[in-house]
């Protein structure tokens, strides 16, 4: 399958402090990939480099075209990004936030085409946000708000979705709900999802592939059962880990809390 995103030997430093070192990764259409790793391992930085927000060395190729050759507006029609804590104003209504997703399509003076309005309506209906259209952002729960931001990404009609810890402000039910939605988007619309996450098991449940970052390098890249190995995770997270396997092959990992090592 042709890659939507291909990156080789990607490196980035803040001053003389290297954050990413020779990272290689691919992303295919319809694939859900979770980006794992401890705090400071470079997950957010990697996402921002792939979007061109930070100047990395190495190659980054979106749809057979080098990142440097993309106009920002054109890239925004292919790739959407959900920041870790998206900015919002209390005065904004749900419709205001959703419409912002059409920014890469707007004409001069911010004029919208009929297509712009149509897409906003479609996405709102698909996410069950249509009834909230006139609600102000401050009147929504954290879960609803996150759904609105996901909606803004989808309004961009992207082929890839880059999410930076989208579960941060969500309770368990909403985390699982988001996982289902992302998987559904990938399977039905062929959208590629690359998502930084701290939740190993949730990532294992919904991702086709896990990418484990260890101080700026890729420590493992493969299906969940390959990457969620106690010895590997113990090394990367510096914590003794255990694993249980279900009969259907799904694996779950958790830190050892009652052993000597954890006390």
């Amino acid at each position: 399958m042709t890659s939507l995103l291909q990156s080789e030997n990607l490196s980035f430093s803040y001053g003389d402090r290297p954050i990413l070192r020779g990272v290689a990764l691919r992303l295919a259409p319809g694939e859900v990939v979770a980006l794992l790793g401890p705090n400071g391992s470079g997950k957010s930085t990697l996402l921002r480099c792939l979007l061109g927000h930070l100047p990395a060395s190495g190659t980054i190729i979106w749809e057979q075209r080098s990142l440097a050759d993309w106009r920002r507006r054109d890239l925004a029609r292919r790739v959407a990004y959900l920041a870790q804590s998206p900015a919002w104003e209390p005065e904004q209504r749900v419709s205001d936030v959703l419409r912002m997703g059409r920014s890469p399509y707007l004409q001069a003076f911010g004029i919208e085409s009929p297509r712009d309005v149509e897409v906003v309506g479609q996405v709102a209906r698909a996410l069950g946000l249509a009834d909230f259209f006139d609600r102000r952002m401050h009147a929504l729960s954290g879960g609803q708000r996150q759904l609105v931001f996901l909606g803004r990404c989808l309004v961009q009609e992207p082929r890839a979705l880059l999410l930076d810890e989208p579960n941060t402000f969500l309770d368990l039910r909403h985390q699982v709900d988001l996982g289902h939605r992302l998987k559904d988007l990938a399977k039905r619309q062929g959208i590629a999802v690359l998502m930084a996450s701290h939740d190993l098991n949730l990532a294992g449940m919904f991702a086709d592939r896990l990418l484990l970052l260890e101080v700026g390098t890729i420590a493992a890249d493969g299906p969940p059962e390959e990457v969620l190995r106690p010895e590997l995770l113990s090394r990367v997270y510096g914590l003794p880990m255990e694993r249980i396997e279900r009969t259907d092959g799904k694996v779950y990992v958790f830190p050892t809390v009652n052993g000597d090592a954890a006390s």
Binding site: L51, A87, D96, S103, F109, I111, A130, R136
Partner: protein, 359 residues
């Protein structure tokens, strides 16, 4: 009572679609704002500073009042528009068009112009023009110099960060103010013939301007306003974090530079002919936001109209008060913009707070 199926269907669809921001909608919004302003402006024409209230019969009086109302509207519109852009780009609801040094730079240079040697120098340089022209030109140049200094010191490798720019703006304002007060303490005679230092710190609508000065200010503000309107679609995104704005296809640094520079030039044109008039640039964007929502594309035309109407009205009230001998002289219009605008603003704020509790 049973609703007809059509109505039910309509109710189900309501809230599922947005009103498209089309060119027609933009023009209708501008026209509605213009109508609001024109109504207020027409009423303002009926108020004279001599105690006369009513449509002026004398064509000379009419022309004079028209000039005053139009000037107040021009200044108010400029401040209302610039306020929207400043608040969006600086991502700060307390931002106003004076925050980046424009008014303090203008006041300082308008004052410096009064030093005899400067006036002579300016006079010889601008021999073809009158002295008044060079004072406004000095103020305009001072405003531009201050904003250039703020953007120069506030940017790092060509990049503007809202918080840094804000802090540098506050500092440059403080320095300008201090230099002014220092010079004024050392040379009190300079402002003696010009109404004292107070006259340089509180603006008002002047009637001593030349037609060419008014036309230049209107041209600068008008062209600048069109540029800001052109940018208005990107101002929504400018309120997000830099990464989010970029991911939405916006060249955010370019928008920040263009928006701040053009809004500052528009403000400078206004300040050069009126001096600093507070409150309009702060409050009109909020008035528009509370009435018409957070979309910057709609805010800009409405805040412009509110600014024009509010300042014209405040100036008319100041004429009314002087005409009725309530005060001995024309009050600085800035005093009245706050007195007129603040209660309205507070009422909206209160209503909105109640609405938020209910929802």
């Amino acid at each position: 009572m049973l609703q007809s199926p059509d109505k039910l269907d309509y109710a189900a669809k309501r809230g599922q679609s947005v009103n498209r921001w089309s060119a027609a909608r933009l023009l209708v919004t501008i026209a509605a704002g213009a109508l609001l302003w024109a109504t207020v402006a027409a009423a303002c024409l009926c108020i004279g500073s001599n105690g006369e209230v009513g449509w002026p019969a004398d064509p000379n009086v009419r022309a004079f009042r028209k000039e005053v109302v139009l000037l107040a509207s021009l200044v108010g519109a400029s401040l209302g528009a610039a306020g929207v852009v400043y608040q969006a780009i600086l991502r700060n609801p307390l931002a106003d068009p004076y925050l980046l040094g424009v008014s303090s730079g203008a006041s300082l240079m308008a004052y410096v112009w009064r030093f005899p040697f400067v006036a002579t120098m300016g006079g010889s340089m601008l021999a073809a023009m009158s002295g008044a022209m060079s004072q406004q030109a000095f103020a305009f140049a001072g405003a531009l110099a201050a904003i250039a200094l703020v953007l120069l010191l506030g940017s790092r490798r060509g990049r503007l960060e809202p918080v840094t720019v804000l802090l540098v703006g506050v500092i440059v304002n403080a320095i300008n103010g201090s230099i002014f007060l220092l010079l004024n303490a050392r040379f009190p005679e300079v402002t003696a013939g010009a109404g004292g230092a107070f006259a340089f710190l509180v603006g008002g609508i002047q009637t001593s301007l030349l037609p060419v000065q008014e036309k230049i200010a209107a041209l600068i503000a008008g062209v600048g306003w069109l540029v800001l309107l052109y940018l208005s679609g990107q101002l929504n995104v400018a309120m997000l974090s830099e990464g989010e704005a970029q991911a939405l296809g916006t060249r955010i640094q370019r928008v920040r530079w263009a928006g701040l520079v053009v809004a500052s030039i528009v403000t400078a044109a206004a300040v050069a002919i009126s001096g600093p008039i507070g409150f309009i640039g702060l409050i009109c964007p909020h008035l528009a936001r509370m009435m018409f929502g957070a979309d910057q594309r709609r805010l800009l035309p409405w805040s412009t109209a509110f600014g024009a109407a509010l300042l014209a009205a405040a100036d008319a009230v100041s004429r009314l008060l002087a005409g009725q001998r309530f005060v001995s002289t024309l009050l600085p219009v800035g005093v009245l913009t706050a007195l007129l605008g603040a209660p309205f603003f507070l009422q909206l704020l209160w209503q909105r707070g109640r609405g938020a509790e209910e929802s």
